[in-house]
Amino acid sequence: MGKKYLPVILVVLGLGTVAMDVRAQDPSDISPDTIGPYSVTSSIEVGVRGVKVEGDIDKYRSDLNYQPGFQFMDSSFLLEAGKDGGPLFDSLLVKVTGWDSDPNGYLRVSMDKLDVYRFDTTVRRFNYYNSLNTIALGQHVDETVNTIGDVNLVLMPQNPKFKINLDYAFNRKDGPTLSTYDFSRDEFPVFAPSRSRSDTFSAGFDAKLGWLDLSFLQGYRTFKDDAEFFITQPQAGNSGPIVLSFLNTFNRDAPQRGHVNFSRVNAHAFLNNMVDITGRVIYSNAKSESTLFESLSGGDFTGALIGLNQIAAFSESERPTWFADLGISVLATESLTISNTFRYNRFEINGTNDEVIQTIKTAPAASFTELEEFFSRMTRYRQFSNTLELDYMFHPRVSAHVGYRYTDRSNDLESLEFDPADPGEIEPEIETFDNRTNTFIFGLRAKPIKNFWTVYFDFERGEADNVFTRAANYDYTNARIRNIIYATDELTFNLSATFRNNDNPTRTDDVPSVDFGTSTESRMFSASADWVPNSKVALSTGYTYSRITSDSVVVFFFNFQKKQGVSEFYSRDQFAYINVNAQVHDRVGLFGSMRFHNDSGAGDRVPPGPETLIAGYPYRYVTPEVRLSIRLHDRIDFIAGYQYYDFEERFKNLGVVESARVQDYNAHLPYASLRFYFGRRE
């Protein structure tokens, strides 16, 4: 059991024990559902899991990472006081899931006292593992523990005139990782243990001043990253003897510190039950600085021996940002609403890096060189966006809306590099991008058959901002239709379809010009059914088909020859699931489920030549699960279950090398647990 989390687990078990003790004191005097002024509603499930994995353990850990051992299943503990409240709190809720052998851990504590406070805190832990041969040559491995927490306190939560909000949030990321160092035309795997921290504090208030609702928030975040990169023994690069460079020693410290100040003012008014106005202004100023010191020895690609290569760099960056938003809705009649939403967004990123590189070569001839460089980068961004919409209710069961959005974006990228050894004329490089977009919006919602069938339809046709990827804006068309059918009180269907087309109309300057655009089509069809015929049986099942087809004209170098080719990506994912719950006996409950993914990726497509890049990730992922629950006692269930994960990559025509890198696995995860109930059962 991770000692760090022992207190958390003990708190929850302690709360359960308190409830049990209360019952044990004098069952005749004390209702089993109460502790003092509080009623208790709780179920706590603790259990153990076994794990057996066959196949690629790294892929298993990257996807799932369940380990054998103890863990909490979904558990909760709720104390609620009656009408007169409790001494310190009126209600207390503790929720806990996972921890220890589970790669995820979740803890939530909520407390409140009428008119005094409302307190919520959430702590989550993720044991993150990533080691996949499909990315960075399989050399980037992460095994970190990420802990994320939020604490929120509201004072005087029921006060209709004034309340205070106090928040604290933290992130912690620790653990070994592997990275790569690019040195002298080769790449060297290096250790890069991760250690970063961030803490965010904020305080504010919500107030009502006559007809005006006013909120203010002032926040501050600190961030630090003590990244370190090193090797422990002489290292050859990825290229082996083909490239002469090697490392004897390597060490880099690159601590980074940052902080963000942010202020937010939000005002809202609803004038004469007719005009809803919300305005918001946010200012944020984020700053980072880093001092890097790197030293290495070894040999470079020319065969020269390097006695010592040192880099010292100081970098800093600042990003002030302004957001201003104004939304106005006029409820012109009971049926007609006219809304306008305006946004102004402006920020700058201003960064510098000043570095000195000293190199001492020892062979074939001793030499010393020193290089000093200064870099500056500036990004300026400004965007206006305005959306005008009309919403009309034709009938309580039929309504529609139409809208128009306009955006205007301007973006400057400026870079400057200064080398003291070549102090010629320095002219910053400036690139400016301006673009404007127009979008039409339409939506319809109807209940063609009352209490039976509801239809939602959304449609957007217009342009999307596109500064970097192509010369012109993207033309996009999005449509979505969703049907929810309440066939009976027990049976519900959901049928949905989503269509997205994203085309770029760019053409080259050639005569005649040729297509230089990109096109992405996304289709998604989903159907699901939920059937709960009685309190003893529940069935949920569904199917989703996701289809993505993308092709882009790309320019790249193949065997050092410039090629204009096409990049194609295909995904054809079929997903199906079924979950069945059955109370087969008063004391016996059964759960069974099956989840199934099958993506054929690019299928049989074979690139006709090196100019065509075709990708997809064909795989099959099957996850059955069964769970048997036996009530041993009115307050104790015994639960036994089994999960199976079968993951299979389905690439076709793999060569010998690729076949050796296939990441298939199957995993058996049996588990057993006890669930304790206090107070009434859920």
Partner: protein, 353 residues
């Protein structure tokens, strides 16, 4: 003054005059938005009967309501309309109680029973979602940022009203069921949770997936945010009550994307910042719900993901790859092997360190 200036002045002037007239109309108009508000405006204190009178006939609703934060407001020392309990939303009940008493009396005596008069109490039957939501917004659209944009949000626009997700009378908890150990599923959607404290009809994310069914498949893909595992909820990243952001996203540290709240090492600012990080957003390269591709990338092959921007577009935008990036070599097909700090670097313009 040039013609252009004159034109601009005229446009601005017309807008200003229009706005002035508009606000005069608004401020002098007197409208009751909801039926309960109309009833409340004309009511006297004697028209209210209190919750106990409602309990006589509506005991099930009363009992469920009694455990809700709505009911607890009656005990608050602060003055608010919620002290009226049921009658805050349903309007004064005196006339309804009298009428129903007479009907019951007639029924008991075997006399002709008068027709039910629905106008004596505010009922939400046959009302559109927006109309019903106005009753909730009367209290909830106010202080704080959470609900302030509901009338311009995606849910409002699509007629998803407050009571589509929340149960104003409180939800009874059904019997406990065994369910998946690692993935939340529908049958176990009703349980004690913070969600039940805000009177949601089911726990997140099942409540959301009931309509947004297609995202379930994304959350079961090999690489995913742990939402169905119960470690995250939809409302961590989205504000279901609307907002100024598209897709009803939340913001982190004032102005940043919701992602950096947890992925704080990607927040920057970096001296050499990968431009899409702030200008296009994380979703330019990642699919946030889930993906079969590692790191939830949009492409299974990193080269293609990079090349689709870093290609030669008439000298505009992202720079093309240099000629020694020979794609015949595996190392150049794995861009992030060298460009390790791809989100941004403090000390290297090509993100090497």
């Amino acid at each position: 003054m040039t013609n252009a200036h004159r034109f601009k002045s005229t446009v601005v002037g017309l807008w200003a005059m229009g706005a002035l007239v508009f606000f005069i109309v608004v401020l002098t108009a007197s409208t009751a938005r909801t039926a309960n508000e109309a009833a409340a405006q004309s009511a006297t204190p004697g028209d209210y009967v209190g919750n106990e009178a409602c309990k006589t006939c509506h005991e099930v609703e009363f009992n469920r309501f009694s455990g809700t934060p709505h009911a607890h407001m009656a005990e608050s020392k602060y003055d608010s309309d919620m002290k009226r309990g049921c009658e805050n939303c349903h309007g004064p009940g005196q006339a309804h109680v009298l009428s129903e008493s007479k009907r019951k009396e007639a029924m008991d005596l075997g006399q002709t029973v008068p027709d039910y008069d629905g106008s004596l109490i505010v009922s939400f039957k046959n009302k559109g979602p927006k109309t019903i939501s106005e009753t909730c917004l009367k209290c909830h659209a106010g202080m704080g940022e959470e609900h302030g944009n509901y009338r311009r949000g995606d849910h409002w626009r699509n007629d998803v009203g407050c009571v589509d997700c929340h149960e104003a009378h409180g939800m009874p908890l059904p019997k406990d069921r065994t369910g998946s150990q690692t993935l939340i599923e529908t049958a176990t959607a009703h349980k004690i949770d913070s969600d039940s404290r805000v009177m949601l009809k089911a726990t997140e994310p099942i409540l959301c997936i009931t309509c947004h069914s297609e995202v379930r498949s994304q959350f079961t893909m090999p690489h995913r945010h742990k939402v169905l595992e119960g470690d995250m909820v939809c409302s961590d990243c989205h504000n279901p009550h609307g907002g100024f952001e598209q897709k009803q996203m939340r913001l982190s540290t004032g102005v940043d994307q919701a992602c950096v709240k947890c992925h704080s090492d990607k927040q920057g600012p970096f001296t050499f910042e990968h431009a899409p990080l702030k200008l296009e957003g994380c979703a330019a390269c990642h699919t946030p719900h889930g993906s079969s591709n590692p790191k939830m990338l949009r492409r299974s092959n990193v080269t293609q993901l990079c090349l689709e921007c870093h290609t030669e577009t008439q000298g505009i935008g992202a720079p093309n790859t240099p000629s020694f990036h020979n794609l015949a070599s595996p190392k150049y097909r794995n861009c992030t092997t060298c460009h390790v700090m791809i989100h941004g670097s403090m000390s290297h313009p090509l993100y090497f360190r």
